[in-house]
């Protein structure tokens, strides 16, 4: 069970809805993933276009919560307005707050991010900030009112797995009671399992599933890996040892040489 503000969910996987080959594949992936939350975005719509309505209808049928994002925003101001529009559209106080420094790396801009988080929290939003493993930024986001953090694993869409596991471990240790979701950079199930073994509470995925050869199977694989990593974390794993030791008992071995 993982808590996001006043909501408690079973699944520790959040799934992005972009980049799938078709709405049907998206729906199959969401179902296979067992995700309780999907992310969504907003964009300009021409009069009579109706694509927003179709997407909205699709999401409704999936029966999952929606976490709208502020993708593409570079300033606090843009992000705040985007969040306000998203709140009206999706009818939720939740906002995945993305304020990025450049198009190329899509890295979070901590300055604009913290400012936007302050404004939005004060305005009643429940902010899920996409951030780095920076401890000072985390501290300010929490002070701004965030009850969830979404540190990146690696830049969006890279599929590299965790770039800085040591830094993420320090972040986890610094705020053990804050819900933290690894967002972005996951490519394979093992990456997601590592994130969970480090003690993170959930993982948000998109490209790794949407662009896999078989998105629904990958969605299920990710869901299993996330559960596996969580259970592994909870089951108190053995520490790595430097030298080998036999696992079969050596006492009582028959002497046959």
């Amino acid at each position: 069970m993982v808590r996001f503000y006043d909501v408690t969910l079973e699944s520790r996987l959040m799934l992005g809805t972009a980049q799938y080959p078709s709405p049907a594949v998206l729906a199959a992936a969401v179902e296979a993933s067992g995700a309780g939350i999907v992310t969504a975005s907003i964009r300009r719509e021409a009069a009579g276009e109706r694509s927003g309505a179709r997407f909205w209808e699709l999401v409704r049928r999936l029966g999952v919560r929606v976490l709208p994002n502020t993708a593409g925003c570079h300033t606090a101001r843009e992000a705040v307005t985007t969040a306000q529009m998203a709140r009206e559209l999706f009818d939720t106080p939740w906002i995945k707050l993305e304020v990025v420094g450049d198009e190329q790396s899509q890295h979070p801009d901590p300055f604009e991010l913290v400012e936007a988080a302050r404004i939005l929290s004060a305005d009643g939003f429940q902010v899920f900030p996409y951030c780095t493993e920076d401890l000072s930024v985390a501290e300010r986001l929490l002070a701004a009112g965030c009850e969830v953090l979404m540190p990146w694993g690696a830049p969006i869409g890279t599929g590299r797995g965790l770039s800085n596991p040591y830094g993420l471990r320090m972040l986890r240790a610094a705020y053990p009671d804050v819900t933290m979701v690894i967002d972005a950079g996951i490519g394979r199930p093992s990456h997601a399992a590592v994130a969970m073994e480090l003690g993170f509470d959930a993982v948000l995925l998109n490209t790794a599933v949407a662009k896999a050869g078989d998105p629904a199977t990958m969605a299920r694989a990710m869901a299993r890996a996330i559960e596996a990593g969580r259970e592994g974390y909870e089951a108190d794993p053995i520490e790595p040892r430097d030298m080998a030791e036999p696992s079969s008992p050596v006492m009582g071995r028959a002497f046959l040489a």
Binding site: Q19, A40, R44, E45, G48, G52, Q84, L89, N206
Partner: protein
């Protein structure tokens, strides 16, 4: 009156946001609005006066990551 709708210059006769949207063909369906980079709540559209050159954004839900 000339406004900028989603980045493109457009002429509208209406002077309030709700009327302008109707004139431009935005009827049903979920959409949200901003004028000059500030959000305009659905219920405030009727009292939002437009001025020459205002930048209006009309957005809808979309898949996202």
């Amino acid at each position: 009156m000339r406004i900028i709708l989603n980045g493109a210059e457009t002429e509208v006769e209406a002077t309030r946001l709700d009327a302008a949207l109707a004139e431009l063909g935005y009827a049903e369906g979920p959409f949200a609005t901003a004028v000059n980079q500030s959000f305009v709540h659905r219920e405030k559209r009727g009292e939002t006066e437009l001025e020459e050159g205002d930048r209006i954004e009309v957005v809808a839900p979309l898949q996202g990551g």
